[in-house]
Symmetry: C2
Amino acid sequence: IIRLENISKTYIIEKVLIPALKNVSLSIHKNEYVALMGPSGSGKSTLMNILGCLDTPTSGKYFLNDKDVSHLSDNELAIVRNKEIGFVFQTFNLMPRMSAVENVALPLVYNGTNRKSRTSKAHEMLSAVGLADRMDHKPNEMSGGQKQRVAIARAIVNSPSIVLADEPTGNLDSKTSIEIMNIFDKIHKQGNTVILVTHEEDISHFAHRIIRLRDGEIYSDEVNPNP
Amino acid sequence: IIRLENISKTYIIEKVLIPALKNVSLSIHKNEYVALMGPSGSGKSTLMNILGCLDTPTSGKYFLNDKDVSHLSDNELAIVRNKEIGFVFQTFNLMPRMSAVENVALPLVYNGTNRKSRTSKAHEMLSAVGLADRMDHKPNEMSGGQKQRVAIARAIVNSPSIVLADEPTGNLDSKTSIEIMNIFDKIHKQGNTVILVTHEEDISHFAHRIIRLRDGEIYSDEVNPNP
Ligand SMILES: Nc1ncnc2c1ncn2[C@@H]1O[C@H](COP(=O)(O)OP(=O)(O)OP(=O)(O)O)[C@@H](O)[C@H]1O
Ligand SMILES: Nc1ncnc2c1ncn2[C@@H]1O[C@H](COP(=O)(O)OP(=O)(O)OP(=O)(O)O)[C@@H](O)[C@H]1O
Ligand SMILES: [Mg+2]
Ligand SMILES: [Mg+2]
């Protein structure tokens, strides 16, 4: 369902070219569970932003469910995202003036769900990530790991068929990390596609396939024999 | 050099009391190397903010170098921080409109260092964390792990005698994490005090003492026999 063909992404800072991704080609099928790893600065978040339709490549093609999305307008990308994709950002990107439950309900506001259903769905997601007692807190009234969990809850509230999570356990202790990985496992078993960026080998072992980036290119792509 | 006596910190959200720290007493001597661990929401960042003079306790006393700092004014706390303490924030807290080198030089602006010295010192620190080629980038032009390393460089540019680092390797791959831990090791060997929050057992093993929090209280406090 995901096919990248010769994807490149180059940033330009004061006339200096920064090739964040160089000719990346990749296929991911429905219901795969992929871990994306690699050194700091190797292009993982850049690749995730392209996969998540948050950014467009400098060159190359991206086919999502056989549809070429490489050159959609911002509005068209927003519609694809809301329908298909749940994204957990490396830096959370929560709305600072909204409470946890309002933040989690936001994707449901965009797709027209009525107030009663979206509040109950948001409550359910926050309980699933262990934040039942933090529903009305704003982001600056929560710990780092609590904010990370609100970002996770928001990404999955819409039951997306593709979940993209960029370092979802970076701020979580082992016990809470395992609870989050169990949630992703459940989502995967329900037939969905899960792609996570992690720098922790323990977390990568939950995935069925491990892709490693280095300097903007795919360095290795292997099956995990014992997920 | 750090003595906490019956420190409590309670937040109030819409009339609900949230006891983030309950009666924490703790002594840390000069040149100790401490890892602070515990579940998400257990009070680690709250404790670090008090240790770092970024926040004052609701009750209890904090003696820093034998001076009671529990009730200093914001200005007085700022002076103590700038002189003695280097703080790496869990969410980086970089100035969005400044480049990496400007961000790292900021503590030196506050203590009156001349422009030439602070630019060369900031360059030195950024090279030490592997960011020589990202000096002029702004935070939104960098990867998560690069931002984390700018935050680390800024915390140590002033050669503080106490380094407080809240999840400094949360966004870093293993190789880069080891480079950062080597920097903290070097700072420790120079006679300074290092206190880091981490959720990764591997990282905690660099420290000489491991303190675990649970629900705002100290759960265990042990020496690490093999740092
Ligand atoms: N400004 C605030 N207002 C209200 N509650 C807060 C505030 N900051 C923190 N809290 C609450 O205090 C508790 C301790 O928070 P703290 O940030 O110290 O946890 P932590 O151990 O650093 O967690 P993590 O590992 O997730 O970063 C949490 O339950 C959090 O919700
Ligand atoms: N908006 C931008 N403008 C300029 N350069 C950028 C921008 N975003 C990222 N970069 C650069 O592109 C490269 C890849 O960044 P990316 O965020 O994809 O790395 P990453 O693998 O996610 O790293 P990390 O593990 O540190 O999060 C980095 O060298 C970074 O400095
Ligand atoms: Mg990243
Ligand atoms: Mg914290």
